[in-house]
């Protein structure tokens, strides 16, 4: 055994490690035994992509969970499920939100827009989506729906952002492929500032 490691220290470490393991996976721990006793699903009506959707929701259920696993809207991705990466970004009343960190109960009476809801009714791509295609924005594509939603929200609030404003607005969305430049090109294109 490691000479620098006493048994007492090691046991302390193991205790610490199990605590660490239990406290990290946010959604799972939210859904774990610390939930209110006797909690049951309640039927909610939520407004998603302009449609009223009726769905049974647990008190501690996140919007990302409801969208992906109950409404089949798998365009919203879970990269971390703990508010770090932005892959699950959706719009609630035109504001960006990490849907992994928002309770479904909290969106009653509000407008939720996911990546499935930004195309025109005739199927035409949203200008942001078209610009993402034209600039070859996505690489692996996993963060892309979140990036699209953050860009859509930005252009709603600021139709002609500077590149720096766009950087700041998009900075809550990670991209491990490092496609930031191409996404920014796309935002400048979608806002008519790049051809």
């Amino acid at each position: 055994m490691n000479a620098r490691l006493s048994r007492r220290r090691f046991i302390k470490g193991v205790i610490a490690s199990s605590v660490a393991a239990a406290s990290t996976s946010a959604w799972y721990s939210a859904a774990q035994s610390d939930r209110p006793q006797g909690s049951v699903e309640r039927l909610l009506t939520i407004n998603v992509n302009g449609k009223k959707r009726r769905v049974d929701v647990l008190p501690q259920e996140t919007l990302a969970h409801t969208l992906r696993y109950k409404l089949g809207l798998t365009g919203t991705k879970l990269g971390c499920n703990r508010g770090e990466c932005g892959a699950c970004t959706v719009l609630v009343d035109d504001m960006t939100h990490y849907s992994c960190s928002m309770l479904t109960h909290s969106v009653r009476g509000r407008e939720v827009t996911t990546v499935e809801g930004v195309q025109a009714p005739n199927g035409d791509l949203h200008p942001v989506q078209q610009a993402f295609v034209d600039e070859l924005g996505p690489q692996c594509g996993y963060c892309t729906p979140g990036q699209v939603m953050a860009a859509v929200a930005l252009l709603k609030a600021n139709p002609k952002p500077t590149r720096d404003e766009a950087r700041i607005a998009m900075s809550g969305n990670l991209c491990r492929c490092g496609a930031y430049d191409h996404y920014l090109h796309a935002i400048m294109r979608a806002s008519g500032q790049r051809t």
């Binding site: 055994m1 490691n2 000479a3 620098r4 220290r9 090691f10 470490g13 193991v14 610490a16 490690s17 199990s18 239990a22 990290t24 996976s25 799972y28 859904a31 774990q32 089949g72 809207l73 798998t74 365009g75 919203t76 879970l78 990269g79 971390c80 499920n81 703990r82 770090e84 892959a87 990546v115 499935e116 791509l125 989506q129 993402f132 295609v133 070859l136 924005g137 996505p138 690489q139 692996c140 594509g141 996993y142 963060c143 892309t144 729906p145 699209v148 590149r163 720096d164 950087r167 700041i168 998009m170 900075s171 990670l174 991209c175 491990r176 492929c177 490092g178 930031y180 430049d181 191409h182």
Partner: protein, 799 residues
């Protein structure tokens, strides 16, 4: 040469589904009767499972079953296990529980009582190498020539190494060329430095979730891998089934970067579980678990001595590397680092010594430029230091050493297919306005100081011997079957354009088949090592040539004359002497089905891989088949080269820097897909910035616990950590060993960025080099304040 498709941008067939959210990654699939599995992972860095009490967990309502190490084949150390009774790192999967929903599975995991006996562990290679030091595995502490063994240094050897003196400890990997002693004798300046490059996680955006079920005797796996066809043999072997009984779907992969090249243990787990339960099993991997099972870069602790002649040419390099392999076997990084030095600086003599040591940290594997990029982070700033002593400009010292097509590489000093590094440096120097910009080096603006840097990257970038498969169906559609995985580079499709080029057909009439083994895909190389562009433009070219020959033969049989009398254009084959004698590709396809034999796929070449054979069998009779193994010559190592230029502003009060401007120049032969190349150069740059100054593993040496298991702790670069805009360019000179002139680029695109930023930081500090990655603000502040650094010279796991 002017091409119809090569060198032109196009809209990849999968991109619209990526921007609309319709793209289905493995976790997006749902099938009837699916159950959800969760993992129980080790809380300690090394231990033995003494007892597992499942009674409470299995009694819970909704729990379907459990999978333990006893249900899966044992693995031979240091190969990773699917499930294990001797976990070798915190997070090593011990068992899995399936339930009707994920919450129940997770709740059941918390009811499992596992009794673990702690075993000795280590988080640092040098800790393991000391006399009587702990070994990461009971089988030993080093992995040499694919076997586990035990090596411990003497106290004296260890101390010399930790003091940064020339190492004397046993290093089982050794190669050399040239006369090292003479090389150092000829040197005007000799540099001697010790260094550390820290490992860090791949952190793919998509956690590697897997769905598996069995149907009609076949195992269906929906997974996330960089490669498609290349995964089939390794996954079938892991599942203990024949390749024909595996249906593998990986149409989309949310990032790999080396961590998902072939099959991996978690990919096979649901296959075993669904067989045991007779239910489809979805195993969702959390971000935290992805940090554990998702692989990481090999760490280096090392020593380097390099001699430079008065003109800056490198006369000798002596390189010594202790590799931190984590808990599982890999270990090519050190040799790859040596290879990179041998080609980028063309030393007269060189020696590499290395020792691959296991630690009880997350499994390591290939990560974007494994070895090449670690050494770029160390050698390039040292090169600048030598240039400073010799009074040579940093760009000039790279020019005098730069590889050209007569360059030699590796221990055997073999040839390269071609190399134009001087052209890359010159092009970059001009576009970046190096001479003018260099005058700003050291310029102060309040608390900020400007640094200018240039860096180089290398990775071998091409393989050969894989298969191509194309098909024309009676509706006239040209099906380009791609066994290449969809890892985000669009190479699965850009390489098929070589076939469209040969067939002289419109892109709109092509259908790219990929992402699902049931679509009859040919054998493919691994989508790693920057090889796909070179390798599969060749394979597609070969298959299309086979098809072209067959088209002309069918025309001759049908319309008379000899095959040589015919040529193709506008998706028709016509007689060059009498253009009225012609057939459309659709007619040729119909005719091929009547003719049968090798035209319809009823017969096929002997030399193609069994994966391709099965694909052709599946397609036989559906149209005209073009299929071939790539047997074109390769006259040497295929180099992927890149140069980067960076201007930074370093704040001397905070130690933080901002990258003001960045330019990358690719030297990868003919550009096949301009937007795709720009994507790789930008993405590589972002990875390089992360390695240079942000990302690292930290393990608590006392308890073996990882300190960073999330994005916010591991710090992959964000929009705000990269320059406002990145510039890219390419040399664009054809490589003679590729029919389209192309070579790969993905990994060198990162190494050059790491190097350029570190060189710029060094420049801003008047030439100080840290010999360590990442270089963080606290290191800079300590240096400026003339305070000792917070870490010991060669220590790993430093904050």
């Amino acid at each position: 040469m002017t091409y119809r498709h090569i060198g032109k941008d196009f809209t990849p067939p999968d991109i619209v589904s990526k921007v609309t959210g319709k793209a289905k990654y493995s976790e997006d699939f749902q099938v009837d009767g699916m159950v959800y599995a969760r993992l129980l992972t080790s809380p300690m860095p090394h231990g033995k499972v003494k007892n597992i009490d499942l009674s409470e967990a299995l009694a819970m309502e909704g729990v379907i079953g459990v999978l333990t190490a006893d249900d899966v084949p044992p693995s031979q150390a240091p190969n990773p296990a699917i499930l294990t009774n001797e976990p070798v790192y915190v997070g090593d999967p011990i068992l899995a529980i399936a339930a009707v929903d994920e919450k129940t599975a997770e709740d059941a995991i918390s009811k499992v009582r596992v009794e673990l006996e702690p075993l000795p562990f280590t988080t640092s290679p040098t800790d393991s190498l000391r006399p009587g030091g702990p070994s990461a595995r009971t089988e030993g502490n080093v992995f040499i020539q694919r076997e586990m063994s035990q090596i411990n240094w003497s106290d004296e050897d260890l101390q010399r190494f930790l003091d940064g003196k020339e190492p004397t400890g046993e290093a089982p990997t050794e190669w050399s060329f040239g006369d090292l002693e003479a090389g150092f004798d000829n040197a005007t300046v000799v540099m001697e430095e010790s260094f550390v490059t820290t490992g860090y996680a791949h952190m793919c955006m998509e956690p590697r979730s897997v769905l598996s079920y069995w149907q009609n005797g076949k195992c269906h796996v929906y997974g996330s891998t960089q490669s498609q066809s290349f995964v089939v043999p390794s996954l079938a072997e892991q599942l203990g089934i024949e390749q024909k009984d595996l249906v593998y779907v990986s149409e989309f992969c949310g990032g790999g970067f080396g961590s998902k090249i072939a099959s991996y243990p978690v990919l096979a787990l649901p296959g075993y579980f669904s067989k045991k339960l007779a239910r489809p099993v979805m195993l969702r991997i959390t971000r935290e678990e992805e940090f554990y099972v998702g692989s990481a870069r090999v760490g280096f602790q090392g020593w380097i001595k390099a001699g430079f002649k008065a003109d800056g040419t490198v006369s000798a390099v002596d390189l010594y590397i202790v590799q931190d392999l984590g808990s599982q076997g890999t270990g090519g990084d050190a040799s790859s680092a040596g290879g990179a030095v041998s080609i980028l600086y063309q030393p007269d003599a060189m020696r590499l010594r290395a020792i691959p040591v296991l630690t009880n940290t997350t499994p390591r594997g290939a990560q974007r430029g494994p070895g090449q990029n670690q050494i770029a982070a160390i050698f390039e700033p040292m090169l600048d230091k030598a240039a400073r002593e010799l009074g040579i400009d940093p760009l000039e010292i790279r020019r005098v050493n730069a590889p050209d097509s007569s360059a030699r590489i590796n221990a055997n000093q073999g040839p390269v297919t071609s190399a134009y590094m001087v052209e890359a440096l010159d092009k970059g120097g001009e576009l970046f306005n190096w001479k003018e910009r260099k005058k700003r080096s050291g310029q102060r603006n309040g608390s900020k100081v400007t640094g200018i840097g240039v860096g180089q990257g290398y990775h071998s970038a091409g393989e050969s011997g894989f298969d191509g498969l194309v098909r024309i169906t009676p509706d006239g559609k040209i099906h380009l079957h791609s066994g290449v995985g969809n890892l985000g580079t669009y190479s699965y499709v850009s390489t098929t354009r070589a076939a469209a080029e040969v067939l002289n057909c419109s892109w709109e009439n092509c259908v790219v088949e990929h992402g699902n083994s049931a679509l009859h895909l040919p054998w493919s190389s691994y989508q790693a090592g920057s090889n796909t562009t070179f390798t599969h433009t060749r394979a597609n070219y070969m298959a299309a040539q086979d098809m072209l020959t067959k088209i002309k033969e069918i025309a001759a049989v049908t319309l008379g004359g000899a095959a040589d009398d015919y040529d193709v254009a506008d998706e028709r084959v016509f007689n060059t002497g009498d253009t009225t004698r012609s057939m459309s590709y659709a007619e040729v396809a119909r005719r091929s089905i009547e003719l049968g034999g090798r035209y319809s796929g009823a017969e096929m070449p002997d030399d193609i891989h069994q994966v391709t054979q099965r694909a052709v069998q599946g397609l036989a009779g559906s149209g005209l088949i073009g299929v071939a193994k790539d047997v074109l010559p390769v006259r040497g190592t295929v180099p992927g080269l890149a140069v980067a230029f960076a201007e930074i502003e370093l704040d001397l009060e905070t130690g933080k820097h901002e990258i003001i401007d960045y330019l990358a120049v690719a030297e990868c032969g003919t550009v096949v897909h301009p937007q795709g190349l720009a994507g790789q150069l930008c993405g590589g740059a972002v990875w390089g910035f992360g390695m240079a100054s942000l990302e690292r593993h930290v393990y608590d040496p006392q308890n073996g616990l990882p300190a960073n298991v999330g994005y916010y702790q591991c710090k992959p670069p964000t929009y705000l950590d990269v320059p406002r805009e990145i510039q890219t360019a390419a040399v664009d000179i054809a490589d003679p060993d590729n029919p389209m002139g192309a070579r790969g680029i993905g990994e060198p695109a990162m190494g050059c960025a790491t190097a350029a930023v570190l060189c710029a930081l060094s420049d801003a500090l008047g030439g100080h080099i840290f010999n360590r990655t990442p270089v963080t603000p606290d290191m800079i502040i300590n240096h400026l304040a003339k305070q000792p650094q917070s870490y010991a010279k060669l220590a790993m796991n430093t904050f």
